[in-house]
């Protein structure tokens, strides 16, 4: 067993935010302790109303070297943006 505590990623939902946002990471031996550490490290200035922590090892991330195949194809497909429609005035704000 490693003597290092695992890394946890911390997500906070702010006072006015609707969704949790990634704010950083920390080390903790277990989930409960990670929550407490997140409270102490990331909500000292009244930033949050809710905390999620997830062990970093459980996050599957895309690889930077796959950037081309994954993301470049969508660069040339402007028609995927709904920007070619005329919106009637009485539709109001979209």
């Amino acid at each position: 067993m490693s003597s290092e505590w695992p890394l946890w990623e911390v997500f906070i939902r702010g006072q006015h935010g609707l969704s949790h946002r990634h704010v950083g990471s920390l080390h903790a031996p277990d989930a409960e302790c990670a929550l407490r550490n997140a409270r102490d490290v990331y909500t000292r200035r009244n930033e949050g109303v809710s905390i999620w922590v997830v062990e970093a090892a459980h996050i599957t991330a895309s690889s930077p070297s796959d950037k081309g195949p994954l993301f470049e194809p969508s660069e040339s497909k402007v028609y995927r943006h709904p920007s070619f429609y005329d919106i009637p005035d009485d539709a109001g704000a979209m």
Partner: protein, 258 residues
């Protein structure tokens, strides 16, 4: 309000408030000594948060004490310009930090007591006391959650962490009894409904601490011996060193502000 408060002599109330404020002041200073030295960054920040919370409580208690005394002393004056024999804190809070586990054990024993106390003080007949208790109770509840979690994790951890936590508990146990001793001041305060009798806090404290020690696989020491004196100003030599560090600036440069 005045009817009830008048029932307690000013000097009695003053002394009782000093006990509350000096407990949080001295413990805060002890905990702040970890700043930059804790075993991991997360604990370092958490301990600093706790120390700051305790300083905030100190300001409320000592400002009220100064107001009750009526001689123009505020929290700063009381904190920086009294000598050791005028301090009224429990001996427990001035005990040296020891290792991290020792510090967390001391914190847990205190947090459990402080939670029980503050919850009772919310019903104080003195609205100023009830008001401070209301404000302090929430952060105190978090302190307890944290120290309790650490005591359980380290107690029920490795062979070494378990041995260190048991040693900390054994070493600190002599300082537990003082939290529950009643004296004249306590009885006057309880008669006026301003605060509970310390002895009445014991059962609830035993419940909280017993359950946690059980989970932590730690053995509660089989002793009722209690080191006493802090509440009446008879302290261990450790308090002198704390004050020397804490009060140096105001002693060397009286009235200095920044």
């Amino acid at each position: 309000m005045t009817g009830n408060v008048m029932a307690v002599e000013c000097n009695t109330l003053f002394n009782w408030l000093l006990r509350l404020g000096d407990n949080t002041l001295v413990l805060s200073h002890r905990v702040s000594q970890w700043c930059g030295h804790a075993p991991v960054l997360e604990e370092d920040i958490a301990l600093a948060n706790t120390a700051l919370d305790l300083i905030g409580q100190t300001q409320m208690w000592l400002n009220l004490a100064g107001e009750v005394e009526g001689k123009g002393r505020d929290a700063d004056t009381l904190a920086y310009l009294r000598d050791a024999w005028d301090f009224r804190n429990l001996l427990l809070v001035e005990r040296p930090n020891g290792d991290f586990g020792h510090t967390m054990m001391r914190q847990f024993l205190f947090d459990a007591w402080q939670n029980v106390l503050l919850n009772r003080l919310k019903d104080s007949t003195d609205p100023r006391v009830a008001d401070i208790a209301e404000k302090a109770a929430k952060e105190a509840a978090y302190h307890l959650e944290r120290s309790r979690g650490t005591v359980i994790a380290l107690g029920d951890g490795t062979e070494e962490s378990h041995a260190r936590m048991q040693a900390a508990l054994d070493a600190l146990w002599d300082y537990v009894g003082e939290m529950f001793l009643d004296d004249q001041v306590d009885r006057a305060i309880a008669d006026a409904g301003v605060g509970p009798l310390p002895s009445n806090l014991r059962d609830e404290w035993d419940g909280i601490v017993g359950a946690a020690l059980n989970e932590a696989t730690l053995t509660r020491p089989d002793s009722d011996f209690a080191q006493t004196g802090g509440k009446t100003g008879r302290h261990t030599e450790d308090l002198g060193y704390i004050l020397a560090e804490m009060q140096f600036l105001q002693r060397a440069y009286p009235g200095a502000t920044w």
